[in-house]
């Protein structure tokens, strides 16, 4: 599917750190839209080994802030055509996405989100329990007589996709246009002279370049330390698991911010489930029993009949969290050092639009209009973008 170049060239126009979905998408659009093909994508492990292959593969745009909604909506629109564009089946499957509300406070937030969404042309509405039951008859709306479901935010375009294939599609498209993808190549330093990037040190030697994009999500602090850039990122594991494959029964994607769960059924029949962030910082992709116990307890409140279904496997990914649940994107105070980070619990759904906006930002050395609000400088200017529509925010 890809060429495996045996050696690094001595210089590149652009070096992208991280061959996950975001890094490969940026390389793809740099080559396709701007004709910049003298690009190396460096990956210390294998393609899609980080957050790209570890998320729960949900795509949606019903966020809360106008900045977030516009951005994610552009991403959903790109996603819908990607299989055609790549000639690769991404198993992109529109399911309809329900965010359940178990309290008056949550209903209020859902109404707020629905109105912002509709204002910006995104299909989104607050629905009552009878509607939820009609789309998902298996749900126990009494929620184990604990926190009855009062309604939901319903987002018909909500979808799931095969996450690895998104990285492979972007990787193959970039590769075919001349971009080099170097796996097993670790960046060990970034050379900066007079506040300007001049090259990258790697485990396979030094490369000259004036433009570097860091697209490494949970590993961002190691990269920003190389250029002495401080950020508000904290790294916390986000865990997920799948059950054994069972007969298809769940068409929709069900999310509850109050119970900290999300669940959908993959095309293989596995139930794909995730929860909230681990409660403290760890930079290690380890799994815990606490997580499975807590998650399954809440899943059973909504779907008691799953009590004898077995968990097949569990895993964890590293989330780079910002204080306002919005990403950090664009130019930085170091000339030629671009950042695409702070992807916390929402990176997969943003993959296409991140690639597209970062490619333009790098090619023209100016923040793309969709990402202006996400620049790192917002933390200096106390101008945050509070995204309460993020999966990790409880209502």
């Amino acid at each position: 599917m890809f060429r495996a170049p045996d050696a690094l060239k001595s210089s590149y126009d652009v070096v992208i750190i991280g061959a996950g979905g975001h890094g490969l998408a940026a390389a793809y659009y740099l080559a396709r839209d701007f004709g910049i093909t003298n690009v190396a994508v460096l990956e210390k492990s294998y393609i899609g080994s980080g957050g790209t292959g570890r998320n729960t593969a949900i795509v949606r745009s019903n966020y809360l802030t106008p900045e977030g909604v516009r951005f994610y909506d552009a991403s959903v629109k790109l996603f819908e055509d990607l299989s055609q564009e790549f000639d690769l089946n991404l198993f992109y499957s529109k399911r309809g996405h329900f965010t359940l509300a178990h309290s008056d406070g949550a209903i209020r937030t859902m109404r707020w989100r629905a109105e912002v969404n509709k204002h910006l042309g995104v299909d989104s509405e607050v629905v009552d329990p009878a509607f939820i039951k009609s789309k998902c008859p298996q749900i126990d709306l009494s929620c184990g007589h604990n926190m009855p479901v009062l309604g939901a935010l319903y987002h018909p375009p909500g979808a799931i996709a095969r996450h690895d294939a998104v990285a492979w599609g972007y990787g193959r498209g970039a590769d075919q246009r001349g971009v080099e993808i170097h796996q097993q190549t670790e960046v060990t330093g970034i050379r900066v002279e007079r506040e300007k990037v001049v090259g990258v040190e790697t485990s396979k030697g030094f490369i000259e370049t004036n433009k570097v994009l860091s697209a490494v999500a949970g590993w961002t602090p190691s990269i920003t330390e190389m250029v002495k850039l401080r950020t508000p990122l904290t790294i916390q594991p986000l865990q997920a698991c799948v059950t054994e494959p069972i007969k298809p029964w769940l068409d929709t994607i069900i999310v509850s911010g109050s119970l900290h769960i999300y669940i959908s059924q993959s095309s293989r029949g596995e139930l794909v489930m995730g929860a909230a962030l681990d409660p403290y910082e760890v930079q290690n992709q380890r799994s815990t029993l606490d997580f499975v116990e807590g998650l399954c307890g809440h899943i059973l409140e909504l779907f008691p009949f799953l009590h004898d279904v077995k968990i097949l496997r569990q895993w964890s990914g590293l989330s780079d969290m910002t204080p306002d649940y919005s990403p950090i994107m664009g130019k930085t105070p170091i000339d030629g050092f671009y950042i695409d980070a702070g992807w916390g619990t929402y990176g997969f759904k943003a993959t296409p639009i991140c690639g597209k906006t970062m490619a333009e930002t790098i090619a023209e050395d100016r923040d793309h209009e969709l990402i202006g609000a996400f620049n790192l400088s917002r933390f200096e200017n106390f101008d945050l973008v509070g995204e309460k529509g993020a999966a990790s925010v409880g209502h």
Binding site: P221, S222, E225, R230, T231, P232, L233, T234, I235, P279, Y280, E281, V282, Q283, N284, R286, D290, P323, F379, E380, N381, F382
Partner: protein
């Protein structure tokens, strides 16, 4: 990491504790520049390694300090907070 040693209650399950983040020194609000203050409010030292953090024992309402390796998720030591003497953020052998 499943157990944490509270300096006054001994070894207890991790579920009894709340994480309080890395130990940071607050600049003097009267003399700090806007940039220094913003740096203190938002920015964090998240690079992998060993560092000193705040932890809270919920049942006894007690804040203390732990030196922890955030990559291996192992606690090297826990100790009482002694007045204003906040140890350096980075351990000398980090």
């Amino acid at each position: 990491m499943k157990l944490l040693r509270c300096p006054i209650n001994g070894e207890r399950p991790l579920q009894e504790f709340t994480y309080g983040g890395e130990v940071r020194e607050m600049p003097d609000p009267k003399s700090a520049s806007d940039a220094e203050w913003a740096d203190y409010v938002y920015n964090r030292a998240s690079e992998p390694g060993i560092r000193i953090e705040w932890w809270y024992h919920n049942a006894s309402g007690y804040w203390f300090l732990a030196e922890r390796d955030i990559v291996r998720d192992t606690v090297i030591r826990t100790f009482e907070f002694e007045g204003s003497a906040i140890p350096n953020q980075k351990s000398p052998n980090a």
